[in-house]
Symmetry: C2
Subunit: 211 residues, 2 copies
Amino acid sequence: MKVFNHSDILALEKRYRTNLINKISGYKSAHLIGTKNAAGQTNLAVFSSVVHIGANPPYLGFIMRPTSVERHTYENIKSTGYFTLNMITADLHEQAHLTAARFPRENSEFAATGLTEAYLADFPAPFVEESVLKIGLSFAEEQLITVNQTVLIVGKVEQLIVPTDALKADGDLDLEALNTVTIGGLDTYYTGTKLGRYAYAKANELLKKID
Amino acid sequence: MKVFNHSDILALEKRYRTNLINKISGYKSAHLIGTKNAAGQTNLAVFSSVVHIGANPPYLGFIMRPTSVERHTYENIKSTGYFTLNMITADLHEQAHLTAARFPRENSEFAATGLTEAYLADFPAPFVEESVLKIGLSFAEEQLITVNQTVLIVGKVEQLIVPTDALKADGDLDLEALNTVTIGGLDTYYTGTKLGRYAYAKANELLKKID
């Protein structure tokens, strides 16, 4: 075992620290966030920080650095009030990673990576046609994280598009069938293999495997 | 494809909605959060909402509902200022799921699930001995998410314990070798299989696979 305390981490070489600290939280969610600015120019960016905020009513959130390459996403959400979350699957993971390059604003990541804009009636932000699970959200709130000026953006789920095949009778989704990927650190992509689905745990009862 | 708008989701049967909405964000991180109250009573709870907040200085966050079964975790962090994140691996996933049962406060989830408390000198919160990657954090800030009264807790990484075998020369961690798991929804656990690790993407250049 290797033990690093806070000072040890601060003293690490920058690239080493970036690789290590970004990966210690384990597997992360993998999405392409689609937005459009007031002039109609679209933007698409890979994110690994989407988190569940609530089911009823349905809210999702994500963490961003508004001063970095993620700035266009932030500005577009704030100016239009809408964004999309498009699940990254194995088929899309290379194109998803490419969206992190610093393209000029007039060069949409959709065109640059060969992904297709898709729209739902009355929903202003662009979806990724090739993504199998698409979520359209309206901006609900933002919270500034004061320790490092990152921001938690919370969106309300307005539209949810899921493949009928992967949707089970009880509302569960088969992430393996969807070929969903998960991200480690800033640069590594993985598929998942199910160990088990379990019933709600109860004190003094054995764990019950459902599936 | 099945399309649900916001009203459709609100109208779903409760259990169906819970299963669906908790799973639409895809694969999530998997941790056991260890805490202790002022009287020395330990608590351990499974969480799937840990997110990266920053690498330099190192911060991690997670989302919680302070009024639910997660209340003990919240109260302990607020009263002592410390908590631990213990990576869930395939070996531990069944015990991790069991921690979600409603044990009385005087019955620690450590004892109830057969996991072992471990301590580092000068760090007050309990680690899980059996977890291969352990992180000790101090409470840094909390942000109330006003739409549903959930809370984002942010912690500063004070201690990081990683297995030497899984740590590569450039600071990257081999999550496959660690047998790290990822969570889907509230009840499904998966292992990961690497598709690839890629170099930082650059505009007008082909994607370069590192590993």
